[in-house]
């Protein structure tokens, strides 16, 4: 039994005529990074809005650290929506401080942490400038500060890296990992699979308002790996091509991707290769990329999940 910081039980949300979220149950483990995946309109944002208390579910229950979610929990949540927004003409320091006091911090504390964070992320000289004077990357940092500076127990980030250059993305990523190390539970919604693979411990896959998969990330890949292997070699490729113990999925000059029947594995591959004159560099279990799993589960009719910008 995993220790869940946040639990959703049978959550349903209807808008007007369509059902945005249908009977969703999730458990977000404490201190982990939990990815919400799925195509646009799958129900991720609707789910996040219920967790942040912006909307209320029509059915079901949300447990926050073991207790039913109430508006008082707002101060323990940090939420960065996908569509970023701050007051363009408000001064940076004033703005962050304002948002923190709305979270329930005292003006003095808010003032203090705002200054610390602005210094830490290199925005000290911009504190008294209106937001519109800052570059987009700097604005994102300001947004991030106003999301995390009140030390939320639950951090919800919707596409946190979109629009960030690699340097700033690295800065933010480091902060996220640091917060995780400090015990913050993080929910992470994104389209970008490589980020999910890099950062998330657990994922939930949404499609058409339902969760079709919720699992620890390593387990998912194992579940979806189809007993296929990658072989790097030097030598005559016909030894690979002509072997009848496997089916070739992909074959290039010095690398092959092969699938073995149930019950056979690495041992059989190595035994076969030993008898050939091939120089073997590497044999490894091929773990499917999340992207492939995603497409397989959601199907080709669904809108493409990878929005590479």
């Amino acid at each position: 039994m995993k220790d869940n910081f946040l639990e959703l039980h049978g959550i349903t949300k209807r808008y007007d005529q369509h059902v945005a979220v249908r009977d969703v149950s999730l458990g977000v483990p404490r201190g982990k990074i939990y990815g919400l995946l799925g195509p646009n309109g799958a129900g991720k944002t609707s789910t996040i809005r219920m967790i942040t208390g912006i909307t209320v579910p029509d059915e079901g229950q949300i447990l926050f650290d073991g207790a039913p979610l109430t508006p008082n929990h707002a101060r323990h949540v940090g939420y960065m929506p996908e569509e970023r927004g701050l007051y363009k003409k408000m001064k940076v320091h004033e703005q962050v401080q304002y948002l923190l006091t709305l979270k329930g911090m005292s003006p003095t504390d808010a003032n203090h942490v705002t200054r610390e964070w602005l210094i830490e992320l290199g925005l000290r000289d911009w504190a008294k400038r209106p937001l519109a004077d800052l570059s987009k990357g700097m604005q994102q940092k300001v947004q991030f500060i106003s999301t995390v500076a009140h030390r939320p127990k639950l951090l919800i980030l919707d596409e946190p890296f979109s629009g960030l250059d690699p340097v700033n993305a690295k800065v933010i990523e480091e902060r996220i990992l640091k917060m995780k190390a400090e015990g913050t539970t993080i929910i992470f919604s994104t389209h970008r699979m490589e980020q999910v693979e890099e950062l998330c411990d657990y994922i939930a896959l949404f499609n058409r308002g339902e969760v079709i998969l919720e699992e620890e990330i390593g387990a998912i890949r194992e579940q979806f790996q189809k007993n296929s292997y990658r072989i790097d070699f030097v030598g005559d490729a016909s030894y690979i091509r002509n072997a009848n113990m496997w089916q070739i999925l992909e074959l290039e000059e010095d690398t092959a991707h092969v699938q073995l029947p149930e019950g056979q594995g690495m041992r059989e591959i190595i035994r076969y290769l030993m008898d050939t004159p091939l120089e073997v560099r590497k044999v490894e279990l091929f773990l499917p990329r999340l992207n492939d799993i995603f497409i397989e589960l959601v199907g080709k009719d669904a809108p493409t999940p990878v929005a590479n910008r």
């Binding site: 007007d16 809005r49 942040t52 208390g53 912006i54 909307t55 508006p71 707002a74 101060r75 949540v77 939420y79 960065m80 929506p81 569509e83 970023r84 927004g85 701050l86 007051y87 363009k88 408000m90 304002y98 948002l99 006091t101 709305l102 979270k103 329930g104 106003s146 999301t147």
Partner: protein, 432 residues
Amino acid sequence: MEKIWIIFKREYLNIVRKKTFLISTFLVPLSFALIFGIQILAAVFVEEENYTILVPSDSSPLITKELSSTETLNFKVTDAPLDSLKAQVIASKDKLLLRLPSTEQIRSNDKLSLDIVGTQTISKAVKKEVREKVEQAIKTDRTRQVGITELQLEELKFDLKIKTQKLDKSGEEKSSNTAMASIIGFAVCFLMYMLMGIYGSILMQGIIEEKSNRIVEVIVSSVKPFQLLMGKVLAIASVGMTQFLLWMVLTLVVQAGIGFIAGPELMMDSAGSQPGMEVDTNELQSTIAELQSFDWTVLWFFPFYFLGGFFLYGSLMAAAGSAVDNIQDAQQFTLPVTIPLILPILFVANIIQNPNGYFAIATSLFPFFSPMAMLVRMSLVEVPWYEVVLSMVLLVGAFLGCIWLAARIYRTGILMYGKKPSFKEVFRWIRT
């Protein structure tokens, strides 16, 4: 409550610290003062116009012998032929040609006319002076005809002015001036319309801005949408009150200033020798006196009706703003709100005409019109206390209803992006 206060503070300071607030607060009364001042100056310092008026010698002697030159007008009876007189007028813009009716016409007709011919537009003052001279001459002639002496005529002259007095409950009489009250009534009505319109749209723009730059989603993850809405509504209402108070203070300062600077000057002029000026300064002084004697209780009710009206119209404008992504789309929803706001301006004349009529009473009770209609009535007549109380109660009830309605639209609207919703959809948001 605490969060409403935090939002209130930010919104209030955000507007009050803007330059536009300062400018509008100080420029509006200053421009009023300036217009007022220019009128005073125009009345006090009329530009001198000197003319030589050529009168053909074949004109009726009844008049020509009575025409005496003044400081500014020099009448010159001349034998020269008409053509050469015309040529003189064309040659000099200081010369005018006067064509008078004939003696028979003067003796037999009651409708007379005379022509002043010049190359430029002739000012009212000159026309008036010439007319007075000619009138005087004809009168003299006619009195002689009937056999009345000038002395007898002088004795017939008298001056009658009508002053209306308002009798209040305590039996005290106050002089009242309906024309002045009508002007003040209209001004108050228009000011109310402007303030509610301007502050309503400031509120709406703020909401659209928060929605379109998406900060609203961050904020409502910390506070309830209702708290955000109320914080904004109360803040902007307070900005309006602040501006009203500043205007009152400024008006007093400016009034004291004008009294101090222009007071002695006006006194001197009215005692002075220029006959044309006397009338104008008298008028000005009586205007000031009327303003002073005006019953200003209407100003005490202004804040209440401003707040009530703003809560009512402002909350509806807020709801309209929350339903759309940009200001252009808002028009569809603001139109049904702005129409009742404009209507009182259109029928204010009817209220002024009969401030105690059924129409005036009905409009001053109806919450969508009462902020304007009631103040117009109050400027003109003493409205019975029970009507005032009833209109206030109705207004409070109506704005509470509007705020409730707006809050329901707002909490759904701020999260809706993309296509512009229809009225039908918005009504569904109210029900959910």
